[in-house]
């Protein structure tokens, strides 16, 4: 059984923009799926539909054998706890310490009162520190999150997502605001999580060179439709022009 099945998913925004047009694909356990396409092709909408931060207009989402398209309330929160997410802008709480930010990944399993009073179970503290070690910044646990560099902040965000012990990790342009060297650093941690921790990853990416290096499979979106599905090696120059338009020139990030 596949981990995730997307069937004929469509999204029309209230202003009439059709962001997704009947998108269907499946994701197997352990995959590192890259989603590519121009800005505005629907990549971010697709990712946010998967964990229902955005409500799809039609179609269905089946996760781990259960239809999650219309679940609400506690069921939706339990579903989201199984899916980590990281963002282009990291979305940390800058005024809080790195450790507090990582602990926020466990909010779903802590009561509202306990979380507001900062009462996290001791094992969550241990886990948070271990996750910070995984991404190599355990020494920064007690500094304010907004004092870190972009790459370090993204690693904190990864540690926060790991607190959910996610079956699936959604990464929305995780390196688009980072410089090339830092980008590889962050992508390597994602690769490690994918292979060593067995976490399935769906990652929106801009740079094909990163896709070729880290992804096991690719889908390409254009105007909200899937126009390519296959292995990274299959993206030839012709495909590249088809996905990105005739004017596009590939830029590499080393």
């Amino acid at each position: 059984m596949a981990l995730l099945e997307i069937n004929a998913l469509s999204k029309v925004y209230p202003n009439g923009t059709q962001a997704l047009r009947s998108v269907s694909f499946t994701v197997e356990r352990g995959e590192f799926l890259a989603v590519i396409g121009l800005s505005g092709s629907g990549k971010s909408t697709l990712l946010r539909c998967i964990n229902r931060l955005i409500e799809p207009t039609s179609g269905s989402i089946v996760f781990d054998g259960a239809d999650v398209t219309h679940i609400k309330g506690d069921a939706l929160r339990r579903y989201r706890q199984q899916i980590g997410m990281i963002f282009q802008q990291f979305n940390l709480i800058g005024r809080y310490s790195v450790l507090q930010n990582v602990l926020m990944g466990a909010l779903g399993s802590v009561t509202t009162l306990d979380s507001i009073l900062g009462r996290y179970r001791p094992e969550l503290h241990t886990m948070a520190l271990r996750n910070l070690e995984i991404v190599g910044i355990a020494d920064k646990a007690h500094v304010r999150a907004d004092s870190l560099s972009g790459g370090q902040q993204q690693r904190v965000a990864i540690a926060r997502a790991l607190m959910q012990e996610p079956k699936l990790l959604l990464a929305d342009e995780p390196v688009a605001s980072l410089d090339p060297a830092t980008s590889h650093g962050v992508m390597r941690y994602l690769g490690y999580i994918n292979r060593q921790l067995g976490c399935t990853i769906i990652c929106n990416l801009h740079f094909l060179s990163l896709v070729r290096e880290y992804a096991s499979r690719v889908i390409a979106l254009k105007y909200g439709q899937i126009v390519f599905e296959g292995s990274p090696a299959e993206i030839t120059d012709d495909w590249f022009r088809h996905i990105y338009g005739d004017e596009a020139v590939e830029v590499e990030i080393r």
Partner: protein, 346 residues
């Protein structure tokens, strides 16, 4: 279509306004020298249709003007929207009409406020001015202890109004923030109701609230505090909720994606982004409240304002001079302290 209609309506308002001023001020007041005040009802109009009330005629002439503006495109509203081509004759005419309206408004204002330089600078008036200024500048220091006691009352009154308004405003501001309330129709309804209520209470001046509360509870600092509190709540809810609407939605998304509950999303995704601006607004509000508290005292709201009112009615200007001095000093200190605290926060 809706835009066209709203343009026509606004042009009609502008034209009617212009016609009213032209007739009432220029024709009746200046040319035929008939004195104001405005006698709206039953005044014999200078037109043929004497049976029709003036305001109907104004509206009709205004509508004619608006239609002309609509057909030719020389519309005032279009000018303000920046839709008229530079150097076009429509733009020139609209500009002329606009400046005519502005000058008419100025002339009307001059007449209505009864501005008179002779009232201000005749030798008799200047002597009166000299009397009051010399009294104010030689304050009577014997009442200083009472004045200090009264201003302490005022400062604490302002503090209590702010402190009691704070928790209420904090909670209500989340319910009055569009970005948090737009998801469901019930929360949207609550948001709309809250916005209407706070807009309404805010549009009533604290002075009016003070009058209401001096009737409700007895005269003294308590009604003054209540008046300031009501006004503070409605002002802070507006400022707070606008701050909430301005936040970066990213952290909220991130917290929601972990499977957190709605209250946790607000506490971790919203609150850290707004604490500092909230504190800053609140301290500024206290500062404003100290000034308002002195005014509210004038209608029986307690503190230094009440004391000022008493001495002013007895025409004891030396004592008034001292009170004004004390108020100025305290307001200046509050202003300075609140500015320093807000600087340190940011």
């Amino acid at each position: 279509m809706r835009k066209r209609l709203s343009q026509l309506f606004l042009d009609w308002l502008a034209c009617t306004y212009g016609v009213v001023l032209l007739h009432r001020i220029v024709w009746l007041e200046v040319i035929s020298a008939r004195p104001l005040p405005f006698a709206w009802a039953g005044s014999g109009s200078a037109t043929i249709l004497t049976t029709v009330p003036d305001w109907v005629l104004y509206a009709i002439v205004g509508a004619v003007g608006a239609s002309i503006a609509g057909f030719t495109g020389a519309s005032l509203v279009a000018l303000l929207r920046g839709e008229l081509a530079p150097n076009s004759w429509q733009r020139r005419i609209a500009l002329h009409v606009g400046s005519l309206l502005l000058s008419l408004t100025f002339v009307t204002g001059w007449i209505v406020t009864k501005i008179s330089l002779t009232d201000m600078f005749s030798s008799e008036r200047l002597r009166a001015a000299g009397r009051i200024f010399s009294s104010l500048l030689t304050p009577e220091f014997s009442i200083l202890p009472q004045a200090i006691a009264a201003i302490i009352e005022t400062v604490y009154l302002a503090f209590m109004a702010t402190a009691l308004a704070l928790p209420a405003s904090f909670v209500l501001s989340f319910l009055a923030a569009r970005n948090l309330m737009r998801e469901h129709q019930w929360t949207r309804l609550l948001y709309t109701l809250l916005r209407i209520v706070t807009n309404f209470t805010r549009s009533i001046e604290p002075l009016v609230w003070a009058v209401i509360f001096t009737v409700w509870v007895k005269v003294g600092p308590f009604p003054g505090m209540l008046a300031l509190m009501v006004h503070t709540i409605s002002s802070l809810v507006k400022q707070y909720s606008e701050q909430i609407e301005d936040i970066d939605p990213g952290p909220m998304e991130a917290i929601a994606s972990t499977g957190a509950r709605p209250l946790q999303v607000v506490w971790f995704g919203v609150v850290p982004q707004i604490v500092i601006p909230f504190l800053s607004f609140t301290i500024y509000r206290w500062d404003i409240n100290v000034r308002m508290a002195t005014i509210i005292g004038l209608v029986g709201g307690g503190g230094i304002g009440t004391m000022l009112n008493q001495y002013q009615m007895l025409a004891q200007w030396h004592e008034v001079g001292l009170i004004v001095l004390v108020i100025a000093l305290v307001v200046w200190v509050m202003d300075y302290v609140s500015a320093r605290i807000r600087e340190a926060l940011l």
